[in-house]
């Protein structure tokens, strides 16, 4: 132990403590192009998978003819829901307690939905084969406005849920209803609003966004049939969730499944969910006995992997004449697309939206969130880990602005 007095800089360097600039260890690899991202993986005998996707937002699948694709040299398999059905692999659980079609089962529910999975010797042949799969559709009207989802005459989107009066988050009141989540004091808030000197209202639409990491989603699945072990490398932000889903639907016990997340080219929430591509690659590897890689292209990533936001918020904020807030009420219509594949941090289906009172002193508040189905890609993920905090913050700050613009905000009137 030295007794010499060191300079602050020297001590900081030595301790490598807070406030010390550190170089990241992984940057040595990344700056030389030596990262290890999913599309860099190449295993012996590896095949490449690609999807046939729906051009329609809502349609009945009348027939699928794979003959042309199978006749193309280099094509090893074409999987459809019919092939997955005997194995009960055609539907998979979502993170939000719903189920999602792995490959379209009789109906397609959004444009870009996975209809068939082609496995071929390279990605060019796979792309050719995708074009050779003939799918006959019967086009149905697409429901894209969440405000119309629960109209009495609204089309039934999810045939698989017909007659189901309750879901993972309680009772369902309409065939396109997913859940209603409620928190706060309904009566107290209603009373405070009706008694208020000032009430400002605003309808706020936080539009659907896509997290869009620079690397798209993908995986390599390798089933070792000799010892019954499955290994999947992939763009997984939540590898344990992938393992659970893979185990649930394949019947392979979790201890025989190894999920590996290598270097990931950005996630932003987009890589939390479990996608049909992962399941189809696993099935492909089980069926063919060799590793199968699937990497989506950018258009597929934007069309079919999880979106975020899509909250349609109707707010009321009550205040006294001099700008003291007395109550807040919000009703949210949450567009979850065709399958509820929302990522939630707790058992509640609207994440942390209950923080929508923000940092203001609001004596009473009431929140309802209703999730509905539309003919859009599934999702509702936590873009930049927000878990609906972004929606809630935008909501409350906008409500305070609206109140202030009406001349009643904190600090009083600021008339020009």
């Amino acid at each position: 132990m030295t007794t010499e007095t060191q300079s602050t800089e020297e001590r900081t360097q030595k301790l490598e403590g807070l406030g010390t600039r550190r170089k990241r260890v992984e940057d040595v690899r990344f700056t030389q192009g030596k990262g290890n991202y999913i599309d860099d993986f190449k295993l012996s005998g590896m095949l490449f998978g690609a999807f046939v996707r729906s051009p329609y937002g809502h349609a009945r699948v009348k027939s699928i003819n794979k003959e042309g694709a199978l006749a193309l040299p280099g094509v090893r398999a074409v999987l459809t829901a019919e092939d997955l059905k005997p194995l009960k692999l055609h539907w998979m659980p979502t993170l939000a307690g719903d189920v999602q079609a792995v490959l379209a089962d009789e109906k397609v529910l959004f444009q870009g939905q996975e209809v068939a999975f082609v496995v071929a010797e390279d990605r060019y042949v796979a792309a050719d084969a995708v074009d050779l799969v003939e799918v006959e559709y019967e086009d149905l009207p697409a429901l894209v406005d969440p405000n119309q989802s629960m109209a009495a005459a609204a089309l039934v989107l999810r045939d698989d849920l017909q007659g189901k009066t309750s879901g993972a988050h309680g009772p369902r009141k309409h065939h396109n209803h997913i859940f209603t989540w409620e928190v706060g004091d309904a009566e107290g808030t209603a009373r405070a609003i009706s008694d208020a000197q000032v009430v400002a209202t605003e309808r706020i639409v936080y539009q659907r966004v896509h997290p869009c990491p620079l690397e798209t989603c993908g995986c390599v699945a390798s089933m070792d049939k000799v010892n019954g072990h499955l290994t999947v490398w992939g763009t997984f932000q939540a590898p344990h969730a992938v393992r659970t889903v893979a185990s649930l639907i394949s019947g392979i016990p979790e201890h025989k499944i190894r999920i590996v997340s290598p270097d990931i080219g950005g996630g932003f929430g987009n890589k939390v969910g479990v996608y049909p591509g992962y399941i189809c690659s696993i099935v492909g590897s089980i069926v063919l006995g060799v590793p199968v890689k699937w990497v989506e292209d950018r258009m597929e990533n934007l069309q079919a992997t999880a979106f975020a936001r899509d909250y349609h918020m109707s707010g009321e904020i009550a205040a006294t004449q001099d700008g003291r807030v007395t109550a807040l009420r919000v009703h949210v219509l949450a567009d979850h697309g065709a399958f509820d594949a929302c990522a939630d941090p707790t058992k509640y289906p609207a994440g942390f939206f209950s923080i929508c009172t923000g940092s203001y002193d609001i004596p009473v508040a009431h929140v309802t969130v209703e999730g509905v189905y539309t003919n859009k890609a599934p999702g509702g993920v936590a873009y930049r880990c927000s878990f609906r905090v972004t929606e809630a913050s935008y909501f409350i700050e906008r409500m305070i602005d609206v109140l202030a613009q009406a001349g009643h905000g904190p600090g009083g009137s600021t008339a020009p």
Binding site: D27, Q32, G33, D39, D40, P213, L214, R298
Partner: protein
């Protein structure tokens, strides 16, 4: 599909290979030659993750056919590393200034910056931003990338002066 015989130089190494006319340069590099530094981000020449240097120009290799690169001199991020394994000043500067997070855009970004500094050894911040406008990064917000390129430009310029 009939294949064409092509010759090119990749990172100072002569390569002869058979390529389908439709094979993209990025797939030639990544799948046939195992050069996985350049990445595929968008398939549509928007993001620049696949940027390589071809005959002294930055190109997006996802929109160049391999046969178009016949006879070309190609440099990828791997080719910027010295024979002794030393990093190029740009690679050092990106590390020093935290010019990356996930690293997916980095090979394209540095390869583009390499060409930019050949064209303009002393670029202003505005010229750097203009110069890398074809390369997208989702993590950093660009501030640290610009800083890294500026630092590398200064270092290279000092090294040149010292040599003169």
């Amino acid at each position: 599909m009939a294949e064409t015989h092509i010759k090119l130089t990749v990172n100072h190494r002569d390569v002869e290979i058979l390529a389908e006319p439709r094979l993209l340069l990025i797939h030639l590099l990544r799948e046939k030659l195992g050069i996985t530094g350049p990445h595929i981000g968008c398939d549509t020449s928007h993001c620049g993750a696949c940027t390589v240097d071809m005959n002294g120009k930055s190109v997006k290799s996802c929109t160049v056919f391999a046969v178009q690169a016949s006879g070309a001199q190609i440099t990828t991020i791997e080719g910027l590393v010295g024979a002794d394994g030393s990093l190029h000043p740009l690679q050092e500067a990106f590390r020093e200034h935290h010019g990356l997070q996930c690293g997916f855009c980095t090979p394209g970004m540095i390869t583009r910056a390499y060409r930019l500094l050949q064209e303009n050894p002393n670029p202003s911040e505005g010229e750097i931003r203009q110069g890398i406008s074809g390369n997208l990064c989702r993590c950093t917000g660009y501030l640290t990338i610009v800083r890294a390129i500026r630092a590398a430009a200064e270092q290279l310029s000092n090294a040149r002066e010292a040599a003169e």
